[in-house]
């Protein structure tokens, strides 16, 4: 089992490395430095900035410095927000984004799987049809369309929940954003679970479980659920990517001070270190997610642990 984990880890690190290197050199190769603003800076200040940010060194020296810094968690100073380092900016916003993302993912799973199971158990009934129709809606309509509508309904019209804004520790400000973010992956998980559960329920070993006189709940939870969840596990990484992407928008609509807006603003302001730092963070998150999913596979199906 541990060997399986380390094999997977060894595969993930080069990918991360490639992404970091690729991003770095892409930025360095870009026309126009980050300080190509409308007004030209006086040459002394320009020279100072150059040496402060290491821009006057040869490229591979810069790369080496950068890599070493990244491994220490230091992404350098932000080009735009000159009083802050990228690490500080990330530190401020990351917990919020993480909260948002994890809650959305959890909602997608803990609502999606039971919904899908329910639909599978009531196959071809009205309830099944209704659930799956809602699922199509959820999959098709993106978070940044859903959230404003939810805000219109629950915020402006009914005044139940705040439309935007955030206070530390507040739950009600997170409700609509989390729900809007979770909706597409939730719908997809429900659909996946339903299809997969229907197949698993046809298996011979499920027939054996019923023949043993086990109650329905036990058969589903103990015998059917784990094999049925394999496609859902495969979907976890795309789900996380979808949630990460959606969070960029949701944070800006709902006024949540997460790191998503730094990414967007960084792109518009051409803030190299900020964007590079963000990309590395997001990539690490996704790759970490991939590793977790690999571990999850092994738990779901013991045969994977023994495979080469």
């Amino acid at each position: 089992m541990t060997r399986y984990f380390f094999t997977r880890l060894a595969g993930a690190i080069p990918t991360l490395f490639i992404i970091i290197t690729f991003s770095f050199f892409l930025m360095r190769a870009a026309p126009g430095g980050p300080f190509d603003r409308e007004q030209a800076l006086p040459p002394e200040i320009a020279a100072n900035i150059q040496s402060a940010y290491g821009l006057d060194q040869p490229v591979w020296v810069q790369y080496g410095r950068y890599l070493r810094a990244v491994l220490h968690g230091d992404f350098g100073p932000s080009f735009k927000y000159q009083d802050f380092t990228v690490t500080e900016l990330i530190g401020q916003g990351f917990p919020i984004t993480l909260q948002l993302g994890l809650l959305a993912l959890a909602l997608a799973l803990f609502l999606g799987v039971p919904l899908g199971t329910f639909a599978a158990l009531h196959h071809n009934s009205a309830a099944d049809f209704a659930t799956m129709s809602l699922a199509v809606l959820g999959i098709a309509i993106p978070a940044f369309v859903v959230l404003p509508f939810l805000g219109l309904l629950f915020g402006v019209h009914l005044h139940w929940l705040p439309v935007a804004g955030w206070e530390p520790g507040s739950i009600k400000h997170l409700v609509l954003p989390v729900f809007a973010l979770a909706l597409p992956p939730l719908a997809y998980v429900a659909r996946l679970t339903r299809g997969s559960m229907l197949e698993v329920l046809r298996s011979h070993y499920i027939r054996t479980a019923f023949a043993k006189g086990l109650p329905l709940r036990t058969v589903i939870v103990r015998h059917a659920l784990r094999p049925a969840l394999t496609p859902v596990a495969s979907y976890l990484v795309p789900a996380a990517a979808s949630i990460l992407t959606g969070s960029l928008v949701v944070e800006s609509i709902a006024g949540l001070p997460g790191i998503g807006r730094y990414l967007v603003q960084g792109a518009i302001n051409r803030d190299y270190t900020l964007v590079l730092g963000m990309v590395i963070i997001y990539s690490t998150l996704l790759i970490g997610m991939g590793l977790l999913v690999d571990l999850l596979y092994a738990w779901l199906d013991p045969r994977v642990r023994f495979a080469k």
């Binding site: 011979h204 027939r207 054996t208 023949a211 043993k212 006189g213 086990l214 103990r222 013991p302 045969r303």
Partner: protein, 319 residues
């Protein structure tokens, strides 16, 4: 004495595009306590569907008739009542050990859960009982096996595990559906020997479903022959083998090659195919393949006639 299993006019039919197809058509039978009944027939004869219906595993099929287990009516009973009986006093082992065990649960868990569910013991006690049962079905190193997963066991061992699962709660009736079909010949003999031993020890009734007469011959007290969803002949095993009265039974017996008989140029076969479940047939369903078929056979459906212990459904039974 109450029959362990009493089935009256059981029919199992499936709906499909052009109508309904009866997999089992008006079958009645009785299994006495500690009796071993062999049910033989080709695939499609309905023998498996019959017992799946008994276990309440008929799926989408429409089931009508009566199924009484130890006097209690199972058909139409509420789920808790069925689950009380199913897996404890009335158990079934299936023919495909490769796919009939849950891949992600250990053998120990799959055995112990029966005990926990039906006998209310703790998991620890249940595992001990499971280990003892593995010994009883002659699995070597039972303690090690408890922690293993199904894919780590051979086919023969998995079949023994299925048997163990069926015996844990001291059932009154074990239904064995083609227990040896997926196994090597040598392993087959072992499993049959095991079934015989278990029967002797516990006095459990056994319903043995098989298309292989040789398997049934060694174990059954009585034999039921099924064709196209109906019973066409039944009687005590020895007598049925010695003097089959239905042409189909005779044909089946002829097909079994014998080591002691004369060498044959070609193995005898039964010509033709059994009717598909949807086909509506007038008269005797075996008529198209029967060498003795007459006009009456094609127009009038024969019913089971004869003494209660020896019946045949044929207009012109063999002497």
């Amino acid at each position: 004495m109450v029959a362990t299993l009493r089935i009256d006019e059981l029919s199992v039919s499936f709906a499909h595009r052009t109508g309904t197809a009866a997999a089992v058509d008006g079958v009645s039978l009785c299994i006495a306590p500690a009796e071993c009944v062999g049910v033989v027939g080709e695939s499609g004869s309905g023998k498996t569907q019959l017992f799946l219906a008994v276990m309440g595993l008929a799926g989408n099929a429409k089931v009508s008739g009566s199924i009484r287990f130890q006097g209690e009516e199972l058909l139409g009973a509420a789920a808790p009542a069925i689950n009380r009986v199913r897996g404890s006093k009335l158990t079934m082992m299936f023919q495909d050990p490769m796919t009939s065990l849950t891949p992600h649960l250990s053998i120990g868990t799959q055995l112990a859960e029966v005990v926990v569910c039906h006998l209310g013991r703790s998991w620890g006690e249940a595992r001990i009982a499971a280990g003892r049962m593995l010994e009883r079905v002659r699995i070597p190193e039972p303690q090690r096996r408890l922690n293993q997963y199904p894919h780590e066991l051979s086919g023969g061992m998995r079949q023994r595990v299925m048997l163990a699962m069926s015996l844990l709660c001291e059932p009154a009736l074990v239904i064995a559906d083609e227990p040896t079909s997926a196994l090597d010949v040598t392993i087959q003999a072992q499993i049959i020997g095991l079934l015989r031993a278990v029967r002797g020890e516990a006095g459990t009734a056994l319903a043995l479903i098989s298309h292989d007469l040789a398997v049934v011959a060694g174990l059954a007290d009585r034999i039921l022959v099924m064709y196209a969803g109906r019973i066409v002949e039944h009687g005590a095993a020895a007598e049925l083998f010695r003097q089959p009265r239905h042409p189909y039974t005779a044909g089946l017996l002829e097909c079994v090659p014998s080591l002691s008989g004369p060498r044959l140029a070609r193995l005898p076969t039964l010509a033709g195919q059994p009717p598909r479940p949807g086909e509506a047939l007038q008269g005797c369903s075996f008529a198209p393949r029967c060498p003795r078929a007459a006009d009456r056979c094609r127009s009038e459906r024969p019913v089971l006639t004869g003494a209660s212990t020896r019946q045949v459904a044929c207009h012109f039974p063999l002497a």
